[in-house]
Symmetry: C2
Subunit: 209 residues, 2 copies
């Protein structure tokens, strides 16, 4: 399989969320044009994106909503349950731990860690906060597929190094820090400062656009 662009994967997510929405409404077929209108792209782009993975539509007719949704779930790896741990039981970590949207998509948050002794043992929702010193053992035991990092920026790289060393291959970081991981580990960073700066850049340079 050819290397798939990140932008393509992002759009597949968008298509899928739209498909699930209309699937729930009982809509049976849709078209690349419909998908494009919602996703803010073009119908050619939609078809090109899908074409990397196969051929899912019927010419003259469009796509079967349930079939395409199911195919996209498979492509995106949503055909199974994923075990997630959150490291950092601060405000954001706790908010994420209780975020229902995760479970709906097959992401089961089954571990929450912190290094602050005053937090360890406390409950956050249904989870008991564990000491980060157990992280290595828990990861080795295959407890988790994905780690979510919500520790302060200055501790983030150290935690990442530890969990990478223990064999975790996918990390989502909310730390305002530039992290580095080996090539075989997938890292995504949600950096609020960066998003806000993209906004202020646009506001400041509006005249130029």
């Amino acid at each position: 399989m050819r290397r798939i662009a990140e932008s393509t994967v992002r759009r597949l997510s968008i298509y899928l969320s739209f498909l699930e929405e209309i699937e729930a409404e009982g809509v049976l077929t849709t078209s690349s044009d419909d998908l494009a209108r919602l996703g803010g792209t073009t119908s050619a782009q939609v078809r090109k994106d899908l074409s990397f993975f196969g051929s899912f539509g019927k010419r003259g007719l469009g796509y079967s909503v349930p079939e395409l949704a199911s195919a996209l779930r498979e492509i995106l790896g949503l055909g199974r349950q994923w075990k997630v741990c959150i490291i950092g039981a601060g405000k954001i970590g706790a908010a994420l731990a209780r975020y229902a949207g995760f479970a709906e998509r097959g992401f089961n948050v089954i571990g929450l860690y912190d290094s602050d002794p005053s937090k360890i043992g406390n409950k956050s929702g249904s989870l008991t906060i564990r000491d980060t010193k157990h992280l290595e053992d828990d990861i080795h035991a295959g407890k988790y597929d994905i780690g979510v990092i919500t520790v302060p920026a200055e501790n983030a790289q150290a935690i990442v190094d530890r969990i990478v060393k223990s064999g975790l291959k996918a990390i989502l970081s909310f730390a305002d820090a530039q992290l580095s991981v080996p090539d075989d580990v997938e890292l995504r960073t949600v950096n609020m400062a960066m998003e806000l700066e993209a906004l202020t850049f646009a506001l400041t340079n509006r005249a130029a656009r």
Copy 2:
């Protein structure tokens, strides 16, 4: 000015955060090579990114850390304070409202809204939760530059429509929904589902990469 790529703006943020880090350590000069190593890019990319905005270095020597940091702050629109409101005082909204990282960068969260009568009037940190029915008036009064949306996905578009109509030009959304805004409004979306799906896509298709 030529249209600046989003990827360039993102990298400028990364360069700036590195510069501020070493500025605090008292480092006086740096090079495109240093900036590249940290940002996970190449020195040519760094120089190209900067070249869209002018010429900031000295050949043979590199860049003055304070000067380049200051130039980047100016370019990114961080040379001033920004007034931010958060709409949706749920878990995530409340966590963001108290997030110290915002203020450090000149983003002052001075308004927090919710439509739930049981929340209105409550305090979250130093902010009192206001009824969303005041949003239009407050925006018209010029209270805010940027709106952060943390309402449930199903209400997000309605809120966006209201604040756009009231004249707000920059929105950061955390709702798991595809939102649409007019061309002259800048919208960024942080979609957790999408980030996780990018991870599971990578995990599922690892062999192919």
